[in-house]
Symmetry: C2
Subunit: 340 residues, 2 copies
């Protein structure tokens, strides 16, 4: 397997990106193609013993910054590491593209300039794999499409199901629609219009789900528009960070807290790890003609390696072809998708 | 001050409702008018020493259950404790109405049958008062209106500001719009259309806010549509409950955890208390012709008493008249509100 890594992706690039690539090449044995500023990548690579490791470097003369607007990048930086990396994917010179770069830029380049959306897909969507209860749950969309139509959400459900089954190994994944109540009358106009379509979709749809039941792991795939999904994921991350930070601070306030905190350190650490987005490492962008995994800008080497692991699983599960086949089997919706 | 309490509100009614009323009458000295099944209320009251306490009982022959649909209640249960309680408010025989009953039913009765919305208000909204950072933050709307127009959100901002200033004592409250990014281009169609209206509103509007900054207390009033607000509040509650439950479980797994857990119990308890919705007790329904506070169905007596405290603060702050005056000063929006 050949996996492209955008070496200019993370906030601290290329340091964690290159280190993560080295760990991945060693642990997984796949070829990692580092794309970006060749000089900087090679200088970074020189810090590690890489003799015999399947690591290649492809130069890209431009890098994307957080200040670049997506539209500016698509046209104005044709030799960015995102463009060059996705081009390798489009040319079948690699099986997956992994980046910790600007999500908006990756979305824009992947959907409009390189690889592009799968024929028949209305809107590609960003998903996140989160450990809830005993499951790895796929949340989709977590931010690619702030405004959605019901037929988009039905395709998100399909793509999320395919990912859960093929990349995460979930048998007959259950799909739920995120809403403000489980009863059929609950929801906003979008979810109320989406509900009957999901019921007729042929997927293992179990109805509306509220955030509490989502966190308890009552479904394998949680569908929402990208605005709501983004708000929910960000609230979840911020709340758990804050709760743990407050406990950490509290464990410094008096001698009982200090001793108690030290004794509990390992168990709290294990829980923190469960909530840690870096454990999964990357969010799959689903609905484009290739495996694209987007990691957090703040990723460390460990997160980069785990994002590469997500890419391997997605490639091994042949998710792109499985989504294509799933689309062919779905009932047609009124709003036909066209590729342009 | 005279405050009506729906004695048939909470899931365990009338037990916590009556006990909370007794505590409130004793602590605050205001008259509490208990509305509901007179026989059951009096039997419950008999458990407490109430001689000299300003408690009155008004009979209502019907009670609302969680299974009743709002529309069924409005027409079909005209003598419910919600109807009778709100009628006292409408007739100026009381200053506020507090209930831990079915939120949908209270909303429906308050907006369509009794008290009704304030002249010029497009949609009343449900708000929640949450301790974030060092502030008490007003979130509005947290569930009354799943689908909103920009001009509704502008009024939510006004009503939230009035509540923050008059009931919570916040000087010149800052208002932010909940969104998936702070930059102006971020958001969905609704928030993007709302942004310029809020900028021109004359309120102390500080722009978009993300969940993380919301939780850190960067603004006094957070505006969203009722679907997004509901999702965010429920995610916040579920995440913090889960984090603390996991820590509690972890503190039972080995001897170090048990001792550590015992030592940290008081500090963790203090933090839990900060996240506890029962500390505030009730969510104000804003935009109707009276002070209406809705508590959680699972409220205990402590939560009921605190909901009554919220009502007192809102009455003392004269929030209904202040909202009326604020409306008169706001720039007119295209979609005129009519009362019907």
């Amino acid at each position: 397997m050949r996996i492209v890594l955008d070496a200019m992706g993370s906030d601290a690039c290329p340091v964690p990106d290159v280190e993560g690539a080295v760990h991945a090449a060693r642990e997984f044995g796949d070829t990692i193609i580092l794309v970006g500023d060749e000089t900087r990548i090679k200088a970074e690579l020189a810090k590690y013993p890489t003799t015999g490791l399947p690591i290649e470097v492809v130069h890209a003369s431009q890098a994307v910054t957080m200040d670049d607007t997506p539209s500016k990048i698509v046209k104005g930086k044709p030799d960015s590491s995102i463009h060059v990396g996705l081009q390798l994917l489009e040319d079948s010179k690699a099986d997956a593209f992994v980046t910790c770069g600007n999500t908006g830029a990756v979305l824009a380049v992947a959907t409009t300039a390189k690889v592009r959306r799968i024929q028949g897909i209305h809107r590609p969507a960003l998903s996140s794999i989160v450990p809830f209860g005993e499951r790895h749950v796929v949340l989709i969309d977590i931010g690619a499409n702030a405004d959605c139509k019901p037929e988009y959400l039905v395709q998100f459900a399909l793509m999320g199901s395919v990912y859960a089954e093929k990349a995460l190994g979930t048998q007959k994944p259950s799909v739920a629609l995120l809403s403000n109540g489980e009863e059929e009358g609950k929801g906003n106009e979008l979810t109320k219009s989406t509900l009957p379509l999901l019921m007729a979709s042929g997927l293992n749809f179990i109805g509306n789900i509220e955030p509490k039941e989502m966190l308890q792991g009552h479904a394998d795939v949680i569908v929402s528009d990208g605005f709501v999904g983004n708000m929910v994921v960000k609230t979840l991350e911020a709340t758990s960070s804050m709760a743990f930070a407050q406990i950490r601070n509290a464990a410094k306030q008096d001698i009982r807290g200090i001793i108690g905190g030290l004794l509990m350190k390992s168990v709290v650490g294990k829980i923190r790890k469960k909530f840690d987005p870096f454990e999964i490492g990357g969010a799959p962008l689903l609905g484009v003609n290739g495996v694209v995994i987007i990691g957090h800008g703040r990723s460390n080497a460990y997160a980069v390696k785990n994002a590469i692991r997500q890419a391997r699983l997605a490639v091994a599960g042949d998710i792109v072809n499985t989504i294509r086949q799933g689309l062919a089997r779905q009932p047609q919706t009124s709003d036909h998708a066209t590729n342009h």
